[in-house]
Amino acid sequence: MVLGLRQFTQRTGEGAGEPILDVNNGEEIMRVQPSVSIALANRSLESPGTLYITSKQVVWLSDVDRAKGYAVDFLSLSLHAVSRDPEAYHSPCIYTQIEVEDGDNDESEGSDSESVGVLDLSKVTEMRLIPSDSSQLDTLFEIFCECAELNPEPIEEEEEGHNWIFSADQIENEATVGADSGWHFFQDPPNSIGHSNGDHDLANSVLQLQINDQRFEDAEEMERDNDSSKH
């Protein structure tokens, strides 16, 4: 997985179209917000566009230029907030900070690339999304929160690894249980082997002795009961 902002050009259909998502991996659209402008780093607004919040990423697509679009994974969104102070930014917006590769968030580099006129998307650490309907800001903020929680760190895979070990233990336990039940099955064959070896009488008498013991005890009780009822 690559951190940071990236170009996004895969669209479906005619006209502005829609972003092509990774539906095979369960990506789904959580919110479509039309009429949203975008501002990357300290650059000026780009508009008009449509914001797509999916279960994995934030995608902004220009409504007029099919070649223009940006996307950032929720895994790369360090922080998001609602910004309403006109002194900080002229329009109320969703303000986000983006984690970039190398942890190199040197502002001078950003301005360097800006001075050349080409913006290196992978170094953009700030993104503002400005919906024309600012009453939607709080809703968008909450959707960002929900989606962020849908995307925990991939470190979680290590925990899954532990789960695998747990599963293996469980399989082992099940195997042991299986062996136990198998052991019961093997109780009888030795007797059969005893028969075939000519120890028929010995094996049989032992079995009978055990059975007789039990019956004898029961019978004795029965007899006692019978005796007491007779007396």
């Binding site: 998001h80 910004s83 102070d85 900080a88 900070q97 960002f144 962020a148 760190e153 470190i155």
Partner: protein, 93 residues
Amino acid sequence: MLFFSYFKDLVGREVTVELKNDLAIRGTLHSVDQYLNIKLENTRVVDQDKYPHMLSVRNCFIRGSVVRYVQLPPDGVDVDLLHDATRREARGG
């Protein structure tokens, strides 16, 4: 889960969250989830000269993975309680 429970107890208190990009945000802890994602309210940026644009933000969501430190209110730290909790966690885990 220990820190999750601990931070849940701190909801409503003033904390300072320091991010790995050196940004430090002070605010009221609104909520925390199992990934230690943190929501702050009534925020203000500690180093305002460096991050002037963050002044405007009243509430924000911080991804747990980018948090370097959380500075706690001194009276929000019950050493004995934490001591017990960590021992319990070590035994249970």
